[in-house]
Symmetry: C2
Subunit: 217 residues, 2 copies
């Protein structure tokens, strides 16, 4: 499968590297053709890896991974180009966060979410929100955390969610540990977990934790 990974930060590098390791072809996209981090990654990741602009990566990918800060995700998809997204699975793993005076801020929040915003803005894309609730290491190594902890998916397109669950399976997540929350409006449910997540991250001193949903039978 060919993937376009949008974003050259730690999440983009982690997911891009895992996809290459799994035998997929990946172009990492950034604002410019000569982004040093993207070029360095592509050179180090072997023949299945490449680098280019957001539009290059989106054109190359049969599937798109949004691995930028959620607050710039819309601009990044606009740079990628609507035509390059049409019909494609767009996996949004972003959180729309900033820090102001040490306090985590989340925007949009509650009445909207990045996931919903992307789907509204690109109705031809098949947006699925997932993976934003865990640290990047846990994304591709669920066994880094003990227990039957969970991930979430949401989106409008049932087939896109099935493809996403299968992709998460390639990452090591059993399908029964991926909970389908419903339509893309539910992206807010998981984006709103960030303040708790950051608090727990400070508590533990690392990101190797996750939520296991326990329920009476």
């Amino acid at each position: 499968m060919r993937y376009g990974v949008l974003g050259t930060g730690a999440v983009g590098v982690k997911l891009g590297s895992k996809l290459v390791e799994l035998g997929h072809e990946v172009v990492m996209g950034s604002r410019t053709k000569d982004n040093p981090q993207a070029l360095e990654w592509a050179q180090g990741a072997g023949p299945l890896a490449g680098a280019g602009t957001f539009a290059d990566a989106a054109a190359f990918g049969e599937r798109i991974v949004v691995a930028v800060n959620g607050q710039v995700a819309l601009a990044v998809l606009q740079a990628a180009g609507e035509a390059e997204l049409a019909g494609k699975l767009v996996v949004d793993v972003s959180n729309p966060i900033t820090f102001e005076d040490g306090l985590l801020r989340v925007a949009p929040v509650e009445s909207d979410s990045v996931g919903a915003l992307l789907q509204r803005s690109f109705p031809g894309a098949r947006v699925v929100k997932t993976l934003n609730t865990v640290n990047l290491a846990v994304m591709v190594d669920p066994d880094a955390v003990p227990g039957e902890h969970h991930l979430f998916v949401c989106g409008e397109d049932a087939g896109a969610k099935e493809e996403t669950v299968a992709l998460l399976g390639e990452f090591g997540w059993p399908a029964h540990r991926v909970l389908d929350l419903g339509g893309i409006v539910e992206a807010r449910d998981v984006e709103m977990l960030m303040p708790l997540w950051i608090n727990l991250y400070k508590r533990f001193g690392h990101g190797a934790f996750n939520y296991e949903i326990r329920s009476a039978p």
Copy 2:
């Protein structure tokens, strides 16, 4: 111990009844002296139970439990009266939610929370946020859900949090399963879980679930 439980809904009834069962004296407070639900509860709950206005309940209680919808919590504490809250542990279990066209809304959110608002408005009170992340049955019966699932506390006053953890212990929660998130600003962390909680509630068809935080050692 004497408790003032503010609110006559299902949460107030559940917590008031559990406190009476534990041997505490409880006055349930409502907007008026002759609230039928409060009178009915007090008559059925035995000699340790009483009913009155919010001010009556706050004056009676050595500790106060805020068991109303979070969107009216400030008004309820104002009705209770600042003098009746001074120095007291105020346990805020509320969520500031409404439903609009079937969609859960949360307000305040992100930049503020009910917990922080109450503490700011009544600096003499010792506000602790807790229990708002679980169904009312789970609040007083953690074994209704399997596993080592967690509660959270936050607040400015360390002693108030210790008293709260001890109270939760009376409810059946081992202290190691109550995570201290820090100051009252962290109340937003847990109030922002409500959209996910409601989603899971619809999924399971019941409220007997909770989050177990799993972490690498």
